[in-house]
Each structure stands twice: as C-alpha cells, then as structure tokens.
Amino acid sequence: MPHDHPHGPTIDAKRLAHYQCMAVAVQELLTEKGILTDKQIEATIKEMEARGPALGARMVARAWIDSNYKRRLLLDGSAAAEELGIPVDGTRLIVVENNETMHNLIVCTLCSCYPRNILGLPPDWYKKTAYRSRAVKEPRAILAEFGTFLPDSVTVRVHDSTADMRYLVLPTRPSGTEGWTEQRLIELVSRDSMIGVRTAKQAES
C-alpha cells in the first residue's frame, strides 16, 4: 500500500510551484532590467488567444469554393494566409492537399512545431511522445485511434515539421456540399482535419 502523505503538497504540486516561481522570477527580472514590460506580455498573450482553427477553416473553405485561391494556397501557403489577413510572421507554411488517392498527416517528431499562427496552440497529444514517435512509423494505426479509417487504396503521407517550415492539411471537401456558401463550409472544417488525423465533418443530409 502506498505511503500516504497527508501533510504538505504532493511532489507534482511542489514541482509545478517551482517552475511557476521560475517563470514569474524570469519575467520580473527581465522587466526590471528594461528588456520587456508586463504590458507586452499581456498583449502577446491576447494576440495568441486570437489565433485558432477558425483562421485555418477560412482558408480551407475559401480553397474549396475558389479554385484560383486553392492554386495560390498550394503554391505558397504563407502568401495565401496573408491574403486573407492572417499574418504568419515569417514562417514558411506549406499546404498539402488530401484527395481520393492521398491523405496527409502532420507531426513534429522532434518537438512540437505546428502552424500556430493558423491553428493556435497545439493540442496536448500533438506534443507528447506517443503521437510524435508513432506517426511516422504506423500512421494508419494512429489514424484509427482518432476513428479515421482509410481504404488501402489511399496513400498516407506523413510530414515532419520544423521550426521554419510548418504544414497545414487541406482536407477533402465533403460530398453533398455543392453550392454551399463559404460560411456554411467553414463549419465542416475541424482543427483535426487540418492536422490530418480526421477528415472534414460530413454534411448532414
């Protein structure tokens, strides 16, 4: 039976407190030295909170209805993002297209590189070793864990991201959405479909 420690915080809580203190200490020291200000930290947090999958969904839905935009998106993802008013801050964005013969999956095996300007901060599983280790070796098994099953005729291609080169998946447009407005199509584009672990949501009949 494990020994119980009723007094004091757990090891985890102590460790967390240690690193939280470190974060506050670093921020205070840098502020006192005039290197940055609390206001700049707050503003940066706000900017980051404004980023999220809704931005990527706009790009995808636009590409679904506008073949010229799609061509530009596949040619130069960064420029196509900027075109819709989404700044990518100098990172190279490469958009990879899914279709009936090809499915793309994104990973960062070494760390957690992710198109954060377009999708916001990555989900926890994207940063943990189970996904990072296995995605390049057994992508179909990974996809199955997300409930995504592809026929054998579809090739699965895995893209390993780097700090300077981020990928975004252009999912296949669901059938039965002919004539839909961009706004309606946006609703079908999930974050996970732009990472490639799922397909876009299907149109409800």
Partner: protein
C-alpha cells in the same frame, strides 16, 4: 551516434492519449515570454530554446511538463547570455515562494 532524448520519431510508444487541457495562465505567460524574446526582442532564438530543452537529462525531459521544460530552457539560455545571473534567479524564486500569490 546515440539518439537525443527528444529524437523519438519511429520509436515504439503507447496509444495516443486524446485528452486535452485548456492552457493555464502560467503556461500562456511562458509561451508569451518566448514569443517576445524570440520575436520582437531578438534576444534568443527558437533553436536555442530547443537546445536548452534537448540538453535536459532524460529524467527531467520525461518528468517535466511541456512548459516546465520551456521555462527551464529559457532561464538557462538567459543565464548563458548573461542577461540574468543564476544567483539573482534563485534569490528571486526564493522570495516569490514566500508570497501568498505568485504575481
């Protein structure tokens, strides 16, 4: 060449844990710190952040959460660059630990 602790591509591992958490304020603050230092301020690069993380010993790497690794690396790099000293960091952390609230 032996693999770095971070170099996990292709290794066997567990089933993916699909649970997610909302980022806590302290995690966002560390993220913003790096974005500012690597972006506008041009004080450290993302590559340096990675070097700091990848040079953690294997136990620390596996035990620490994502942003705990980040702040461990950020403070190490700032000390290396002599923007802060390890003594002032330790002293400040000790002071902060006695406060009722962190900020």
């Amino acid at each position: 060449m032996t693999r770095g602790v971070h170099d996990v591509g292709g290794l066997p591992d567990d089933q993916v844990d699909l649970s997610e958490h909302n980022y806590a304020p302290w995690e966002k603050r560390i993220d913003a710190l790096l974005v500012l230092l690597a972006g506008k301020k041009q004080i450290m690069r993302v590559d340096e952040l990675r070097r700091g993380i990848e040079s953690l010993d294997i136990d620390a790497y596996n035990e620490l959460s994502y942003y705990e690794r980040w702040i461990a690396s950020i403070s190490k790099i700032l000390v290396e660059k002599k923007l802060i000293t390890s003594t002032e960091l330790e002293d400040r952390m000790a002071k902060i630990a006695t406060r009722k609230t962190l900020l």
